[in-house]
């Protein structure tokens, strides 16, 4: 009996760890629930229930013994699709019976502590290149390519730094878009840039909440109404923060 309980606890720990990593790395809510239930089923617990919101996971299993329930809180969320796909492939392997409980726990713990993101410099360069390309896609001129890269890169850089300094996401987005607006205005003023509108629209693209928006719709469709609406609210607030930052600059002009 004692041993059974211990094993039950361990299975729940693995399930929650997998769910936590996916949720923190920007996976959809239905993927979190699906992964946890599949892992639980693979280790012999057919009856499990989970309730996932963007800020916490409640997971409960029914076995032969008493019903056990655990709750974990998710406080930080970022975007790291590589972790999502790694946990996904581990859960596939567990479902096939290729990985034992201890191994799975070890692998997931490794993934949780790993830092898989691209180097920060490359991220900033990628953001500025993406912004330049998007400016061309929105019918801008090639003359404005370099100014857009400068203001977009500076915007992304300041977003990340402000976010480290003050951990309120909406405020750092507001400040970043304010800097983008100001910098674009200055670039046009000194004659480097030409179309202010196009430069600002292009530069802001790296801050736009695209992942949140698609995840929100996908969650709503899968029937996770609470998660879908709250993610939609987060996306709306982000868009509002970006808009407000630009609006402050525009009202000075």
């Amino acid at each position: 009996m004692e041993k059974q309980l211990e094993q039950l606890n361990e299975i729940m720990e693995v399930c929650l760890l997998a769910g936590k990593i996916i949720l923190q790395s920007g996976g959809e809510t239905y993927r979190v629930e699906d992964t946890m239930m599949r892992i639980a089923a693979a280790f012999g617990m057919e009856n499990s229930h989970s309730y996932v919101t963007p800020t916490g996971i409640i997971f409960s299993t029914e076995g032969t013994g008493p019903v056990t329930t655990k709750l974990i809180r998710i406080s930080t969320r970022s975007t790291d699709l590589k972790k999502v796909s790694m946990v996904n492939s581990i859960s596939r392997r567990i479902a096939c019976g290729e990985v034992s409980l201890q191994e799975a726990k070890k692998l997931l713990k490794e993934i949780e502590t790993m830092n898989l993101t691209f180097p920060f410099k490359i991220q900033v360069v990628a953001a500025s290149v993406a912004d330049g390309c998007f400016m061309i896609m929105f019918n801008g001129h090639w003359i404005d390519f370099i100014p857009t890269m400068i203001s977009g890169g500076a915007g992304y850089l300041s977003f990340v730094y402000f976010h480290r300094f003050i951990p309120i996401k909406f405020f750092s987005e507001f400040l970043a878009s304010f800097i983008i607006g100001l910098l674009s205005f200055l670039l046009v003023k000194i004659g480097l840039g030409h179309q202010l509108d196009k430069i600002i629209i292009g530069s802001v693209m790296s801050l736009v909440p695209g992942l949140l928006l698609t995840n929100a719709v996908r969650d709503l469709m899968a029937g996770h109404l609470v998660s879908g609406l709250s993610k939609g609210a987060e996306a709306f607030l982000t868009a509002f923060a970006i808009g407000a930052g630009i609006a402050v600059v525009l009202s000075f002009l």
């Binding site: 993927r31 790291d80 699709l81 596939r92 991220q123 802001v204 693209m205 928006l213 698609t214 525009l250």
Partner: protein, 163 residues
Amino acid sequence: MQSYYHFYKMGALDKVDLLAQLVTSLIGTSAFGIIFNVPKESLIKCGLIGMGGWAVYYLLEGYTKDAVLATITSTIFIAVLSQELAKFYKTPVTIFSVAGMIPLVPGGMAYDAMRNFVENDYNTALAIAAKVLMIAGSIAFGLVFSEVINQIVIKMKKRKQKV
């Protein structure tokens, strides 16, 4: 340079412009994949899907001048293609679809709406904001539609297996 301004008025598709759009959308969406930390081996696929989606949007918008129709079609294209690729490579769908969706977000129009709000021209601003909402809604609708297509494909495959 002039062709950029008169592009829509001329009604003819300039091949150089189209090429520039394809190249920038490929690079732009791949670069977005780096920000989202998409696995390295999927970056190019991510960019190719973004390029395809943008080509659909650009051509349709150019011919019909209807941004809503172009957005819906392009969203369905991206979502269905990503779902099939995700099944094939056994990875999460988001990896392929997310970067491709980004250019469809009506950022430019939202900017225009806000600019008019700031300049106290509420009538124009509200009109543009309504259009922004329509386009955002059409992205959502495209996602719903692609999910429907996905479910139908799964059901058909199951039925075939039974027979």
